[in-house]
Structure formats: C-alpha cells, structure tokens
C-alpha cells in the first residue's frame, strides 16, 4: 500500500507491530545526543527513543512511503520509559487529515505498550506527503 494523502482514511488502523528494545540502540541513541548516562540509565531509554518504534516505515515495513515527505510536527505523551530487553507493541492509526496552504497533511497516532499492556508512549506525527 502506498501511503499517500489520497489513499489513507481517518480512523484507518493497521496490524500491531512487535519489537524488543535493544540495549545497543539505547547506547548509540544516547551517544548521538551527547548523553553519557551511566549505571541504571544504560537500561532506561531517553523518552524520545520510543520514536524509533513509532514511524510508519517501521510499523509497516512493506508500506510504500513516497520519498520527499516532510515531518512537520511531532507531539508525545510520555507515560513510562522504555527499558532494555522489554518487549513492546506499537499500534498505529490515521488520526487526522487536513489541507493547509494547499498541501495535504497526515497525522498518524501511535500507541506503544509493554508486554504487560502498560501504556508507555503516545506519539502524534504530522507529515506532509509529497505532491
């Protein structure tokens, strides 16, 4: 399926995707932002690390995401930090579609939960697909 403004409908949902939080990715993520967290912090991911598991190309690897889109806005609710080794599930839906200044905007909403069902993160990602 191609993720264009025309092809997606508000309320559309997709199969949940499952991941394991990788300790090495947390380490590299902290390196990228200059956060030398040590001790217990090595096990706990920075809040925005959850974004890795809350983007269309990751949740739906077979989806066709047209190149040239713009990530315009990003909002989060952080409920529980992700921890190394944790098994998590991401669900994704199309939350909103609108046009602004002649450009279509798509808002995806993601929920990330741990294996106990606890809500860890809600992400709302606003993108402007290419024309």
């Amino acid at each position: 399926m191609e993720f264009t403004f025309q092809n997606l409908e508000v309320g559309q949902t997709f199969p949940p995707a499952h991941f394991v939080v990788d300790r090495d990715s947390i380490k590299r993520y902290r390196q990228a932002i200059g956060d030398d967290g040590d001790g217990d912090e090595r096990e706990v991911a920075p809040n925005t690390f959850g974004h890795i598991f809350a983007v269309p190309r990751v949740v739906l690897p077979d989806a066709i995401i047209p190149a040239g889109g713009v990530h315009a806005r990003q909002a989060y609710e952080f409920h529980r930090p992700l921890r190394a080794g944790e098994r998590i599930t991401t669900t994704m839906r199309v939350a909103e579609k609108f046009e602004k200044k002649g450009r279509g905007h798509l808002v995806y909403e993601f929920e990330v939960r741990n294996e106990g069902g606890d809500l860890c993160l809600i992400s709302r990602m606003t993108t402007i697909p290419p024309r």
Partner: protein
Amino acid sequence: MPDQPYDHDPAPVSASLCVGEAIPPLQRVVTSDAIRTYADASGDHNPLHLDDAFAATTAYGGVIAHGMLTAAYVSFAMQRWLGAGWETESGMSVAFLKAVRPGDEITVTGRIQSREKDGRGVKITCSIDVVNQLGETVLAGTAWGHEVSS
C-alpha cells in the same frame, strides 16, 4: 562518538520555579558524526541525512539532520532539568521550522509558562525554542513535566 565536549553538569530543578523563569539551556554542535550515530540508533538511513551527493539534488541542497535528533536534544534538556519529573506523565509538542545542517550550533531554550497542581504534583509547562548559531528558530513548541521534590 560525537567529536565535541559536552556539558554534563546536572541542573536540578530548583525549589522555587517561577513562571517566566528560563530553563537551563542545552547547547550542541550537530556534527556529521552525531547524525550518523543517530541514523544507526534509529534505523533512519534516509540519504537526505547521510548522502551529500543525493541531498544536493533535493530542495534542501545538502544534507540535513533528522528533525527527531533536534527533538531528542529538547527531551535531553528537559530530562537534565526535571529528572524523574520528565520520565513519566510528561510530554512535548513541537514544530520543525527550519533545517539543521552539519556543523550548526543549536541551543535549546525555554521558559516556564505555567505551574499548576494536578494528580501527580505540580505540572510545569514550558515554551521551547531551539535556535541555531544565526539566531534562527529551527524548532518551537511546548514541553511539560512535573516538579519532583528532592
């Protein structure tokens, strides 16, 4: 590893935060190394962020950093400031306004907009403004967390 010194001095939340007070700023030089490291950590290897030749053919005219790298700096600034008060029942909402390029020096700034009691304690909402070395705003929005008494 990014090839720059970083300021890791803790900046604990003060006992008497006031509306209008600035949050501790966070400065970073966005190196090519930091962008590559972020790409590896996130799995986002879009050539717009990594391939000079490809990026030169786009509307950006060259490589730009992932917007989420800049957003991650905002989160780190809030984490350093609020500590545990940033880890849960917190959030942020930001707009990406201008591309960040390798070598840019960016500063995360913010001011307390409101303090209000809620079920978890005192919720603090801040305006967020990330500026580059030219004083241009590259990201703007709000972030909120909680005061945690020490």
